[in-house]
């Protein structure tokens, strides 16, 4: 049993879970949260994560955490993955733990590792400017035997180390590269477009083995997903499980949770997209918690503890073969207009038997909508619950296009 968990990053729901589970913890986050932590008796160490210097580094943080007897560090956000990796290297006496953390933080390195290990990946390359992307697209077009007048092959560019969809651009043509790419995008990873149904896995790992696997079906990236996976994906579960264990072995993950994204083609081939090891976006763990009726955030933290016993594992995780009766899905709502004044919940939603709840915030008068960065700033989420995954998919697709803001 861990003596104390260092929660790397500020998350109230995680803190609440730790309190309810009655586990020792300390929160490490930016000084901004110190006041709130003090008021609410939350053990807290303030740290400037975005500073890296002689006085701000993992050894210094290690010293600061000593009084709390921390022996496990848990990364909650993308930006704290290396910090947690560095601390855990010290706690476990294994320098490779830090290297693994870097693997999660560099998408090019991550892909190379996957390729070496025999996972199917798209064509990818590090690019440093627009010319680089154009050359990449050209080579891809050649490989795809493009004939004059045919469409260009689609290319995605992603920053090496950003969460989810932040900075992710889809480029459909040479002109797109010209129009959409910014100087500040580079250097970054360029990769070919992977066809197929996109889904993510949340694998809770202990002792290098997957102890629980959640599959999240993406209805539309950045907009909607549901849990557990629908019938078709479910029928591929064994295959997915096999590929997942391959990934775990390959990356040498021993403790914690990984959240990779995969593509399943019509020919039942799985392609690896990317993988993260922090709390996934899109309220995925919230949905998983409801669908499987377990404390997903608590389990996320506890799995990082090498000393967790089999009993404790069993208690906190659902059985490996669990298949819930109810599907939980959500759709993130973005305004469709540039200036909004009102929030209106459509009547059809109120009458929808799958509709569960929403947390949409009314706008202030004449609120102007800034252009979106990634899929970051949605106005809230609408949640659904029901027994038929096909109906769920239909609803999520439908509400993505309904105007809630006028």
């Amino acid at each position: 049993m861990a003596k104390c968990f260092a929660l790397m990053g500020w998350s109230l729901p995680v803190i609440e879970s730790m309190q309810k589970l009655n586990k020792p913890y300390v929160v490490v986050s930016f000084p901004d949260f110190e006041g709130y932590a003090k008021e609410n008796n939350i053990p807290f160490v303030s740290y400037q994560f975005d500073e890296w210097s002689d006085t701000s580094n993992s050894l210094d943080l290690y010293e600061k955490l000593k009084p709390f007897e921390v022996d496990v560090a848990v990364p909650l956000f993308e930006e704290t993955v290396e910090w947690a990796g560095a601390l855990n290297s010290i706690y476990r006496g294994d320098p490779r733990v830090l290297n693994r953390a870097f693997l999660f933080r560099n998408k090019a390195m991550m892909k190379r590792k996957a390729l070496i290990g025999g996972l199917r990946v798209g064509l990818f390359e590090e690019v440093y400017n627009k010319e680089g992307v154009k050359n990449f697209m050209k080579r891809l077009n050649q490989a795809n035997l493009q004939i004059d007048g045919e469409q260009d092959s689609w290319v995605h560019i992603k920053p090496f180390a950003s969460a989810g969809t932040v900075g992710h651009r889809l480029l459909r043509s040479m002109q797109d590269i010209e129009d959409k790419c910014q100087e500040s995008d580079f250097p970054c990873l360029a990769e070919s477009h992977l066809p197929g149904t996109e889904f993510s896995c949340e694998a809770f790992i202990h002792g290098g083995k997957i102890r629980f696997l959640n599959i999240t079906e993406y209805v539309k990236l950045g907009y909607s997903n549901f849990i557990p996976e629908g019938h078709h994906l479910n029928s591929k579960r064994d295959k997915i499980m096999k590929e997942m264990q391959k990934l775990v072995d390959l990356f040498g993950i021993e403790y914690g949770m990984i959240h990779p994204e995969w593509f399943l083609t019509e020919n039942d081939e799985l392609s690896f997209g990317e993988v993260a090891c922090r709390i996934p976006g899109g309220h995925i763990l919230e949905l998983a918690a409801k669908a499987y009726d377990f404390d997903a955030l608590g389990a996320f933290v506890l799995c990082h503890d090498p000393n967790l016993t089999e009993e404790e594992l069993k208690e906190i995780l659902p059985p490996l073969d669990a298949r819930p009766k109810n599907f939980y899905g959500n759709v993130m709502i973005y305004p469709h207009k540039n200036v909004i004044n009102k929030l209106e919940i459509p009547e059809e939603l109120k009458e929808e038997s799958y509709f569960l709840d929403h947390n949409l915030i009314p706008p202030y008068t004449n609120q102007k909508i800034n252009s979106r960065e990634g899929f970051g700033n949605h106005f809230g989420t609408v949640n659904f619950k029901g027994e038929d995954p096909d109906r769920m998919k239909e609803l999520l697709l439908h509400y993505e296009n309904v105007d809630f803001y006028h």
Partner: protein, 664 residues
């Protein structure tokens, strides 16, 4: 109204959210509360949903939904703030509604909270009701309509319906008298609102005739429930039998008493039709003028067209179609019957077959349709009211001020045309208009401004407005893109050729700014101010566009009214007398500009303002361009500057102002 059936699912979802909320620690409470409030927001726009939340209010309060908010301590709430909070939308309006439900529960002894006794809670709720009569009677002010969504309005109205049924209303008497006076002094064509208040008072408040305030409320009540001594403790059927025993002298007395009751507030009781039909059917036609309370001129007209009008009465009036008697009396007074075209039109109306869709709208607009009264009868009755009370025409809760203004104008100046329009619309559910040598047919053009007509209107309006609205909108589309306000061309085409050719607008489309406001005001004064226009009176109503401003003077939107006349009020001050189709008596346009509806020389249905205050809200009007430009130099600069200041510091803040001089 949408009738949501509360399923088990709804209850279960609420229970789940409440449980989530109760179990959350202080850390995630705000987030859970937000979700639960979202759910409550959706539930409380129906009475069932609101009642469900009311049943759970103790639990919600205990779970801490009010904790850490300004609503935490019920003894520290301020009743006068409630109205503003309700208008500010979810989540504020939702928690405000929960707070009222909690007070109601305290008042009813359902729950107990330290520091707030059941009497305290009761008093608070009464204060809230007084300050929110617009919601109690679902007659939101123009400002409210502009800022609240339909869902929010429904929520708030549902709340007030709910709490006014569950509370005593003794402390709100004074406010109710004021409210009733404000409404009745305007003699509106639709009398549902005042009837609702009067019925509510009758049902909920014990009145003592020896107390002044009570006796004033009783006067309103008697107009409807016992207009004469002989109607006391008698229903209208029994009253009919009792009339047979009366002598001629007694019938005359009864007629005088009946009309006196009607004229006091413009409200007609169910006994009145019984009496007037009895008089006509039993050879007492000479008593009808007493029964209608006619002057000598009115009586003379009755005598002239006695036979024709008797037929109209017999075919139209019924105890369930009573209110039109007042309109008929006013028609006799105004002399409208002397026009051959009007008599022909009315005679034609009696023969039409009403289109089923129009019939449906008419019956929907009738609060208590009676099987013995046909849609045509209701339509005829409404026509009497509109023709007799042109300034009583209102738009209801619809954004159709243009159409209401038109109906009022035609009723005054082209009544036969109006009757003919009603006849066409009622028969074919369609209308055609001419616009610049083109025909515009309502059934062939796109949507109008209103998609869901609020049927709280008179039968003439529900017949015409859906089509007028579409035609108006189509005319606006045709006239747009001309770099000037389309109303310049649409107003004359819609309302008629009496609209002046000259059109002044403070807003300039090319510059997207207010240009030469001083010149604009000078033209306005030269058009209507007797001191500067050569001592002339206005002849026809002038369709004027005004800025609607909030009580803080903030720009809210645009509105259409008619300027009827400019005259000295009883104190010798020049005032603008105008028709505001939204029939509001309690308007506050900010900067202490508050239109009045009585007491300042208004005739029934007029609103008025000191002329310079009125001028400070206008943005467009028509004028005689051959005439006004000569006279605009007479208008003194200091008067213009006074108006300019008011305008700039209110709606003017929303615009750029340019001082380029224009040629008017």
């Amino acid at each position: 109204m949408h009738n949501q059936v509360l399923t088990d699912n709804t209850y279960q979802k609420f229970e789940e959210l409440l449980q989530d909320f109760s179990q959350a620690t202080a850390l995630t409470r705000p987030e859970k509360a937000q979700k639960m409030m979202g759910q409550i927001d959706l539930l409380i726009d129906t009475t069932e949903g609101l009642d469900f939340i009311f049943q759970n209010i103790g639990g919600l309060s205990k779970a801490g939904i009010f904790d850490g908010s300004p609503w935490a301590d019920p003894s520290k709430l301020v009743a006068s703030l409630v109205n503003g909070t309700l208008k500010s939308g979810h989540p504020n309006s939702t928690i405000e509604i929960l707070s009222e439900l909690r007070l109601l529960a305290i008042a009813n002894g359902k729950i107990k909270i330290k520091g707030c006794s059941s009497d305290d809670a009761e008093n608070f709720i009464q204060e809230v009701i007084v300050a929110n009569l617009e919601f109690v009677f679902n007659e939101p002010l123009e400002e409210t309509r502009l800022v609240m969504s339909d869902h929010e309005l429904k929520k708030v109205h549902t709340l007030f319906k709910f709490i006014s049924e569950k509370t005593k209303l003794d402390n709100v008497k004074e406010k109710l008298v004021e409210e009733l006076t404000l409404i009745c002094e305007q003699r509106p064509v639709v009398t549902e609102k005042q009837r609702k208040i009067i019925a509510l008072v009758k049902e909920k408040i014990e009145l003592d005739p020896t107390v002044d305030l009570d006796s004033r409320l009783l006067k309103f009540q008697r107009c409807i429930y016992r207009p004469t001594i002989k109607t006391v403790n008698t229903n209208y059927q029994e009253y009919k039998i009792s009339l047979k025993k009366l002598s001629k002298e007694q019938l005359e007395e009864e007629s005088i008493a009946m009309s006196k009751s009607m004229l006091s507030f413009g409200l007609v009781s169910q006994y009145h039709p019984v009496l007037i039909l009895f008089l006509i059917e039993n050879g007492h036609k000479n008593l009808v003028p007493f029964c209608l309370g006619l002057t000598e001129a009115g009586t003379a007209r009755w005598r002239e067209y006695e036979k024709f009008i008797s037929t109209l009465i017999l075919k139209t009036i019924h105890p369930f179609n009573a209110q039109c008697i007042y309109g008929l009396a006013k028609m006799l007074e105004s002399g409208i019957f002397s026009r051959e075209a009007v008599r022909s039109g009315l005679a034609n109306m009696l023969t039409v077959t009403i289109h089923p869709e129009v019939e449906e709208r008419i019956l929907k607009s009738t609060k208590t349709p009676h099987e013995k009264v046909s849609a045509l009868q209701y339509l005829m009755g409404a026509l009497f009211r509109v023709l007799g009370q042109p300034l009583g025409v209102g738009q209801g809760n619809n954004p159709t001020c243009q159409s209401a203004r038109g109906i009022s104008m035609w009723s005054q100046h082209a009544p036969a045309k109006l009757i003919n329009m009603v006849q066409t619309a009622a028969t074919y559910n369609d209308l055609t208009f001419r616009f610049e040598a083109q025909e515009i047919k309502a059934s062939e053009v796109g949507l109008g401004l209103v998609q869901n007509l609020d049927h709280n209107l008179d039968a003439v309006s529900v017949t015409l407005v859906p089509m007028l609205d579409k035609i108006y909108n189509e005319m606006m589309l045709n006239a747009s893109g001309r770099a000037e306000d389309p109303h310049k061309w649409v107003n004359p085409a819609l309302y008629g050729q009496w609209i002046q050719i000259g059109f002044a607008s403070a807003y300039d489309y090319l510059f997207n700014a207010i240009v030469d406001f001083d010149g604009f005001i000078k033209v306005f004064y030269a058009m209507c101010h007797p001191k500067y226009n050569g001592g002339h009176r206005l002849i026809y109503p002038n369709p004027v566009g005004i800025f609607i401003t909030s009580s803080k003077g903030d720009m809210l939107g645009f509105h259409a009214i008619s300027l009827l006349r400019v005259d000295k009020d009883p104190k010798g001050k020049y005032r603008a007398y105008f028709l505001n189709p939204n029939n509001e008596g309690r308007q506050d346009w900010g900067q202490n500009i508050k239109p009045s509806v009585y007491g300042n020389g208004e005739i029934y249905g007029e609103s008025s303002l000191p002329l310079h205050e009125f001028a400070a809200r206008i943005y467009a009007f028509h004028y005689n361009n051959l005439e006004a430009t000569d006279k605009m130099d007479n208008v003194p600069d200091e008067e213009v500057q006074k108006i300019r200041k008011l305008a700039r510091e209110s709606w003017g803040r929303a615009y750029t102002w340019l001082e380029t001089k224009k040629i008017w």
